[in-house]
Symmetry: C2
Amino acid sequence: MDPALPHSPQGTAEPTEELLPLEVEEFSDGRLRKGAETAERILNAAEELFAENGYAGTTLRDIAKRAEIRNPSIYNHFDGKENLYLAVLERGLRPMWELFQQLAIRANQGDELDLHVVDGLMDLLAEHPNLPNLMQHETLSGGDRLHARLAEWVQPMFNAAAGIVSHSPSKRWSDEQTTLLVLALYNMIAGYFTMAPMYKLISGENLLEEEMRNKQRHLLHDIIRLLFSEENTK
Amino acid sequence: MDPALPHSPQGTAEPTEELLPLEVEEFSDGRLRKGAETAERILNAAEELFAENGYAGTTLRDIAKRAEIRNPSIYNHFDGKENLYLAVLERGLRPMWELFQQLAIRANQGDELDLHVVDGLMDLLAEHPNLPNLMQHETLSGGDRLHARLAEWVQPMFNAAAGIVSHSPSKRWSDEQTTLLVLALYNMIAGYFTMAPMYKLISGENLLEEEMRNKQRHLLHDIIRLLFSEENTK
DNA sequence: CATAAAAATGAACAAGCGCTAGTTTACTTG
DNA sequence: CAAGTAAACTAGCGCTTGTTCATTTTTATG
């Protein structure tokens, strides 16, 4: 494993590192090994339950039931609840991590990206609706369970996002504001998905359905355009 | 108690109802009765712990320890964990509920309010930093524990906020967009506080300190001004 | 097809949970 | 200050939790 690395807050500007070597256990014909298949079922079940109920609110027996196994079998694939949780988090964060790495590269090449970032994020989160909730649970607990890994996982994404925003044509935002702006935009975008269950209770409408998502995408475009227009310079 | 009220989504536009009769148990000289004082200590401890660790992640023994009593004593003041949680939620939501009620009245009188709303919310949340986290935990769990009370508590605030936004001078936003805009603005504002612990891990800076809060307030003012300027009409 | 490894299982353990009962202490009030 | 009530305590019950272990069943391989 990692040698110590006690939340060192040195943030490399370019996220070019690897997240983890992702080993695929499968036959030459692409069929998964039996063990790897149930490991995946466990991860899927755990992701859904952790996202909805958090770490403490999720039982290994609940996870096992959803994965259609008896709960000691989990220990054939993961070394305890905490490690399973970390595995879920890592697998969940990977697509977001990759998206930001990719967007950051294009931002350094001078492409205008703000709208692409929004679209990319909306698509990604729509495909992985558990991701914002997992992140939010971690955020609320102060990242206690991530702590060491947090720097290497979240920090590069944040830096990439800040880089993208600071490359925008608008000269409106100072460097100081850029940081807070990234936070605000993230909360606005991810919060949409996080809010979905409660919004459904209040209004009856399902934010996760495509029609609503398109309205949200439209709104975000309008907002981004207003925030990053070249005209006004404060 | 309430007669059924199974999440009826009829939202009265003006939040003029009462939240709950708030009974104060104190002597004529203002001193709290012994019992009422420990009840308050329990509520304070529970609020902090529920906000950080959620419902499942908080034990009555933890709460008792922080309130400096033994855990069965909690039952002299609250009828079980669930009811304590609801009491925490209600006491926590009250100031926000009152703020929105007050702002909604002024909005109906035609005052321009958008910036005042932001300032009011920032001040309120700075004073009650546990509130956004409590709400967020409830949001993530799908409001399961609130469910029935949710309509009467959250719905009026949401409607008040939507009313305020739709009274803004800008003709830019359609009614449909107004709803999503309220959500986005709420997430932006409340998310700032929710993110504080993780942001501190990443950057070392404390978002809850006044200096940072003022920068955030400034940023929010800029954003609101851009979103609700009279000029541009899309 | 035999064999070893991998995976799944039932049974059960210690620890911790919400909660109750019974009793003692502290407070309030006539 | 005495009596009654409210509030705090100790002890512990029934249950669930994460985890272990010995065993059986399944899967992969020479």
